[in-house]
């Protein structure tokens, strides 16, 4: 693994090779990823990702906000799965506070997270196929994505930057009649996945561009910190939802798709199967949705209902105090990880006992997954780089933070 631990600087090597700059505005780099390539004809000799074009200092910003004000910031980190970010952050703070979350809120969180996963995978599938040359898949995927975004808008008022979860529960009760369109979507969606698979899985051109391309072994994937479908595509059977359950995932039954080949096609097939499992989880959540409160019983942390504020003195006082001076969180530190569409997303939150987090650090799955790129591409053709980037499903907002 010597080649993995040394990331070279790229200065012109022998006479035969040339340095090529790819990005940061190359459409197939999904954002602002810049790659510096040393190529010998069409063959990649070395490859070095250059990141940081989207760095916004979110971790520093968090330190200047109250705990509850951080939730909308987390949306902006991985903008394809805002609800997963919300969930991971609120779970971490709830663990710091020792809060008990009512079952209905937990199930809603699981259901919305699986819809988010499908949403994210649809964007991935559409753009990945577009990169490789299958234009129509993109249009099919965005058709269903639109349906999911409409569901998010119903429940949170926002299509993308949802900020729907709160420390201690949910922001609002789901609107009346919300579950009916979710159920319709869940019934409709498996046939749509068949459509995508009809377009791609058996397609010989798709096979030639993806099978055996950008291979990575299980050992290398683990050593380089890969997680999520990228890891499972290399045959490592590990999924946080099943193996270290959080937010009530232990109540759901689902399979974890694993593929042994470790190539672009293996990662593709893992994600497509994951979409089917996710919709099965959504079905289970709809069938077993518990009744009850959506907020924890912790008046000093959770904002009171609007109605109560008009009739009860305490509610008004707590509301005023939470908004103006936040709530103190006991000293300590917590690392909370969730399975995001891209892998292990983790929030490390340190509290010094005040109302503002002392340190918030996000473990970005994409940042670790991006380290696989040199191991995947070196020695292969230039066109395969595009397939490899698509297959690790990067979001630059999460990498750069």
């Amino acid at each position: 693994m010597a080649h993995l631990s040394s990331m070279p600087t790229l200065e012109p090597g022998q006479d035969r090779t040339m340095i090529l700059n790819m990005g940061p505005h190359h459409p197939s780099t999904h954002g602002v990823l810049r790659l510096i390539l040393e190529i010998d004809g069409e063959t990649i000799v070395r490859i070095m990702p250059d990141i940081g074009y989207l760095h916004t200092g979110i971790e520093k910003t968090c330190e200047a906000k109250f705990y509850q004000q951080v939730v909308p910031l987390t949306d902006r980190i991985d903008y394809l799965c805002p609800l997963t970010n919300n969930l991971c952050y609120v779970l971490a703070v709830e663990k710091l506070l020792g809060l008990e979350i009512p079952p209905k809120a937990q199930w809603m969180r699981v259901m919305l997270n699986e819809l988010t996963r499908i949403n994210s995978h649809l964007v991935w599938l559409g753009t990945h196929a577009l990169d490789i040359g299958a234009m129509s898949v993109f249009l099919y995927c965005f058709r269903e994505r639109e349906d999911i975004l409409r569901l998010f808008e119903m429940v949170s008022g926002q299509r993308m930057m949802t900020s729907y979860f709160r420390i201690g529960g949910l922001a609002l009760e789901p609107p009346l009649g919300f579950f009916e369109p979710v159920r319709q979507f869940a019934n409709r969606f498996p046939a749509k996945v068949d459509e995508y698979e009809n377009l791609l899985t058996g397609n010989p051109i798709w096979g030639m561009r993806t099978k055996g391309v950008a291979r990575i072994t299980a050992e290398d994937a683990v050593a380089l910190g890969a997680s999520g479908p990228t890891l499972r595509g290399s045959g490592v059977d590990f999924d946080l939802r099943r193996d270290m359950p959080y937010s009530g995932y232990e109540n759901f039954s689902f399979k974890v798709p694993v593929s042994q080949d470790g190539d672009v096609f293996a990662r593709y097939i893992c994600r497509v199967r994951e979409m089917r499992e996710s919709i099965a989880i959504v079905q289970q959540a709809l069938d077993g949705m518990p009744e009850g409160r959506i907020k924890a019983d912790a008046p000093k942390v959770v904002l009171p209902d609007r109605e109560k504020m008009k009739t009860e003195m305490e509610a008004l006082i707590y509301h005023f105090k939470i908004i103006t001076e936040g709530f103190a969180v006991p000293e300590g530190e917590v690392y909370q990880a969730v399975e995001s569409p891209r892998g292990e997303m983790g929030y490390y939150v340190v509290s010094d006992g005040t109302a503002k987090p002392y340190r918030v650090h996000m473990r970005a799955a994409c940042l670790a997954n991006l380290q696989l790129l040199p191991a995947m591409c070196e020695g292969r053709l230039l066109a395969d780089v595009v397939a490899a980037i698509g297959s690790i499903d990067i979001v630059l907002g999460e990498i750069d933070r």
């Binding site: 663990k95 193996d243 490390y348 670790a368």
Partner: protein, 164 residues
């Protein structure tokens, strides 16, 4: 789940495989331990972090073969000022452990890239944002900030709105 006070006595925590292994190997490398909110933290003496990491990675019973994350916390103006935080995961045993190294004002620690290549970006990020040097890192350059940036933005004495 009401909060219970953290356990900080080494004797009470010996049951945990990672800590037991380390105490058996070299009890001087362990500066302390803490079990809080179901998470185990072990404080490591700074010169032995690389050996501790490879020891935990290669453990037969409970291999912590996956480096989840490396990050840093700045406790300015307290001393020792920096805490480097390593999160390890055992994929087979589904356990986590957190290692910590405390560093003073001229922060330097051995790189663990030779144990896990995954540490490459994580350590570069800590170097970039906190100015902690990792000895033996193959390519210790700024990762997120521009190459010519002055200062280390995530340090506590760096203003949130930046220097104007």
């Amino acid at each position: 789940m009401p909060l219970v006070p953290a356990i900080t006595e080494l004797d009470q925590l010996k049951g945990h495989p990672a800590l037991a292994k380390m105490l058996a190997w070299n009890s001087e490398a362990v500066e302390g331990a803490k079990f809080d909110r179901d998470e185990l933290t072990i404080y490591i003496e700074r010169s032995s972090i690389r050996e501790v990491c490879s020891l935990l990675r290669d453990d037969r019973d409970c291999p912590f073969n996956f480096l989840v994350d490396v990050t840093c916390v700045d406790w300015y103006p307290k001393q020792p000022r920096f805490e480097i935080v390593y999160h390890l995961l055992s994929i087979t045993r589904k356990e986590r452990v957190r290692l910590k190294v405390r560093l003073g004002d001229s922060p330097e620690v051995d790189s663990v890239t030779s144990v896990w290549p995954a540490a490459n970006y994580f350590e570069r990020e800590v170097y970039d944002l906190f100015g902690v040097r990792f000895n033996g890192h193959p390519y210790l350059r700024r990762l997120l900030m521009p190459e010519d940036w002055e200062g280390y933005p995530l340090r506590k004495d760096y203003p949130v709105e930046g220097y104007r």
